[in-house]
């Protein structure tokens, strides 16, 4: 039985990064990137419009207001799971992303090996956190779904 591909919106404000990610995801038969965006206003717009299953969101976008966007989108488009890409934003910031409702957290340099798996997991409501991050963030506290459990 053919399965519908996972519809993904890809958000990263670094054009070269986005291109890399796009190429990466285009190589996955079960992932379909429906839109690519480079700023947070476009993220809101495209996620509302496309209602993807997964949003891949660069955490470093726009100096941290990406955290607010996570919260808003979780409320407004609850069907879209959010996998956050992180570079060196640091554990506190990453924890806030999880607290705000992101289901996945992938280090950008781990993206080639992990992003597709994280997207698949997210599509099934499963958390994926890159190993290096989970040590810092204490991600074991977050399984399987956060919000209620997290004290801070």
């Amino acid at each position: 039985m053919p399965v519908d591909p996972i519809r993904v919106v890809l958000a990263d404000n670094h054009a070269a990064m986005r291109r890399s990610l796009r190429l990466l995801l285009d190589g996955e038969a079960d992932v379909h990137v429906v839109a690519e965006v480079g700023d947070l206003a476009a993220v809101m717009r495209e996620v509302h419009q496309h209602q993807p299953r997964v949003l891949v969101l660069d955490l470093g976008m726009c100096n941290g207001s990406s955290i607010e966007v996570i919260g808003r989108l979780r409320r407004e488009v609850p069907g879209a799971e959010i996998v956050v890409l992180t570079m060196e934003e640091g554990p506190a910031f990453e924890r806030r992303a999880i607290d705000a409702g992101a289901i996945g957290l992938v280090l950008k340099d781990r993206a080639p090996g992990e992003l597709a798996a994280a997207i698949r997991g997210a599509a099934h409501g499963e958390r994926h956190v890159s190993a290096d991050v989970s040590a810092d963030v204490g991600a074991n506290r977050y399984s399987p779904r956060p919000s209620a459990v997290v004290g801070g």
Partner: protein, 252 residues
């Protein structure tokens, strides 16, 4: 042009060339552009590039962007500023594409060294910083191209091409802002009000006079002044005056 009889086998696309042949006009493709931009005729010269970014996945994207150009060749990839310096020293590329925000301090600090060691290599920086002050600082450090990461797909190729010709490139929006400044957005993060205060102090006004002029209390002026001195790491009035002079604050 009733006299021009075009054989049927000449396709419409080939028509201009055909007409030119008939009329004995030498058509040199891209000549206007060459004259304008100083490209070497024939344009078969390869632009050799070193890219430096601490993230492999970003480097891969950059490579994809640049390798899409037939006359570009990425000769090395560095993952930190020191490696960038070494590779440039070894390869003497035409252009170094340098991420400004790599770990271990600003890559801008390496720019003067790289420029000194390999004067024929021009530098294009990639940055998230869309503030005019940063752009100005980078240009002053010896960078020829200033490209925002968010605009890399549209601007990087052009910036590299221009750099290889010894021409600068600055994101147009940013360029407009650089031209419009100073005063707002000085390099050291002064607020607009602090700039006003600094300017008046530099012009010789006392705190009381500044307060009266700005309709604030003397204590507020003192606070502004303390902040300014803190931000600029300057103590005396003389130093503030020099700073104001250097940054063109005394002119208006």
């Amino acid at each position: 042009m009733g006299w021009l009889r075009v054989p049927l086998r000449v396709s419409p696309l080939a028509l201009p060339t055909y007409v030119a042949t008939l009329m004995s006009v030498t058509v040199s493709p891209g000549r206007a552009a060459d004259a304008d931009q100083g490209v070497v005729a024939g344009a078969a010269i390869t632009i050799r590039i070193v890219i430096a970014d601490d993230h492999a996945i970003v480097r891969r994207g950059l490579r994809m962007l640049l390798d899409g150009e037939p006359d570009f060749e990425v000769v090395a990839e560095a993952d930190n500023a020191e490696a960038a310096r070494r590779y440039v020293h070894g390869h003497h590329p035409d252009v170094l594409v340098l991420d400004i925000n790599m770990p271990g301090g600003s890559s801008l600090d390496t720019v003067p060294t790289i420029r000194a060691e390999s004067p024929d290599t021009q530098i294009v920086v990639l940055t998230m910083q869309d503030e005019a002050a940063y752009a100005r600082q980078a240009m002053r450090a010896g960078v020829l191209g200033y490209v925002l990461k968010e605009a890399a797909d549209e601007e990087l190729v052009e910036a590299v091409r221009r750099a290889a010709r010894g021409q600068s490139y600055l994101n147009p929006k940013l360029g407009a802002r650089v031209a419009a400044e100073p005063p707002p957005g000085l390099p050291d993060g002064l607020s607009k009000r602090e700039v006003e205060v600094l300017r008046m102090i530099a012009l010789g006004h006392t705190n009381t006079e500044v307060a009266a002029e700005l309709y604030v209390s003397v204590r507020t002026v003192e606070a502004h002044r303390a902040h300014i001195q803190q931000k600029l790491m300057l103590g005396s009035r003389a130093e503030l005056v020099r700073y104001a002079l250097d940054h063109g604050l005394m002119e208006t």
